[in-house]
């Protein structure tokens, strides 16, 4: 085993432990955790047998496994960015409603 493989696997397992230990909204995000475990399993497999990703890449018409992973990464990144953007917009809306409620509560009327 190469050193890089050791490091990568250690990092992935550390992330897994960190994620499973976090207790924030446990039930709602259960499927995220399942997805993450799946990701970790696949990641460790790909780290140990990198040539297998090339086989998969070839099936899809991509020459190298590393290229395939780059493409997947780009898609995942764009998806994450967009969903974060929408999440922020949603929060902004809730925040506006909160501020609006405060504003209407403290309305002042003129004397004349």
């Amino acid at each position: 085993m190469n050193w890089i493989q050791v490091l990568l696997i250690a990092a992935v397992i550390a992330l897994l432990v960190y994620l499973l230990r976090s207790r924030t909204n446990a039930k709602a995000k259960a499927w995220v955790k399942v997805g993450y475990v799946l990701f970790v399993v696949l990641a460790i497999y790909a780290i140990l047998r990198p040539d297998d990703t090339t086989v998969l890449a070839n099936w899809l018409g991509v020459r190298r496994g590393a290229d395939l992973i780059t493409y997947a990464l780009i898609i995942a990144f764009v998806f994450t960015t967009l969903s974060t953007y929408l999440r922020f917009k949603e929060l902004e809306l809730k925040y506006a409603r909160l501020a609006r409620a405060v504003a209407l509560e403290g309305a002042r009327t003129p004397d004349h």
């Binding site: 809306l93 925040y95 506006a96 501020a99 003129p110």
Partner: protein
């Protein structure tokens, strides 16, 4: 003072509420509110978390004041003002009016009279209709016209000026108005809501007073990019 003529205005509008969103407008808000109060009984100024004393000046000038604890943007301020006004007894006519003094009172009166004919739910001011001489700077004019043409909803409704701050609408519109775009994209969203709710709309030519002050406060033209982008993403959001 600007050229506002109160001579030919003698009709009282007891059921009209003027909504003035304001952010750091202490310099001009007093005059704007006082002018409005000369004609209208009910003016509500939404102070969008200003750092100056906009709220106090507006209150002294005779406006109701609601104050956002933090700055949210003009769309949010308009929504807050409409929610305040529509909860007031007897409110039937609602007007959005920019705080920087770029609108003319007599345009508001003409638009309210237009609404009173009863065949439309909302009247929107336009800088670009027919015979009115427009003093819009050429670049701004080009961008605004392009924005109006790019927006599928404006196009469908044959609106020529999607980003005019002057609007007059009835209780139906006020009760159902739910702007979610806090920033400057609310103008486009307003138009989208008109289409979605099948409100009947008309345009009325108005003049914009491009003073040095209002020019310095106006939105940068590059903001148009944000507006188009927000418009595309709006549909993606759960509401």
């Amino acid at each position: 003072m600007r050229d506002v003529y109160l001579v030919d205005i003698d009709t009282p509008y007891p059921d009209a509420w003027i909504i003035v969103p304001a952010f750091n407008e202490a310099q001009v808000i007093g005059d704007v509110i006082a002018d409005l109060r000369g004609v209208f009984d009910h003016v509500v100024c939404v102070d969008d978390g200003s750092r100056d004393d906009t709220a106090d000046i507006a209150l002294r000038a005779g406006a109701h004041v609601v104050r956002h604890p933090v700055n949210l943007g003009q769309g949010a301020a308009i929504q807050t003002g409409v929610e305040y006004a529509r909860s007031q007894p007897g409110a039937q006519v609602f007007v959005t009016f920019d705080a920087d003094g770029q609108h003319r009172l007599k345009d508001v009166v003409v638009m309210i009279d237009r609404l009173a004919k009863g065949d439309v739910d909302i009247v929107i001011g336009t800088r670009f209709a027919g015979s009115t001489v427009s003093h819009t700077p050429p670049l701004k004019r080009l961008i605004l016209r392009t924005a109006a043409m790019l927006s599928p909803s404006s196009h469908r409704l044959h609106l020529t000026d999607a980003h005019n701050g002057l609007r007059v609408f009835n209780k139906t519109v006020a009760d159902n108005l739910a702007l979610t775009m806090n920033g400057m994209s609310h103008a486009t969203e307003f138009i989208t809501l008109i289409v979605e709710n099948h409100w009947r709309v008309a345009e009325e030519p108005v003049e914009i007073l491009y003073t040095e002050y209002s020019m310095s406060k106006g939105q940068p033209l590059l903001n148009g990019v944000n507006i188009v982008f927000d418009g595309f993403l709006r549909g993606r959001m759960r509401r």
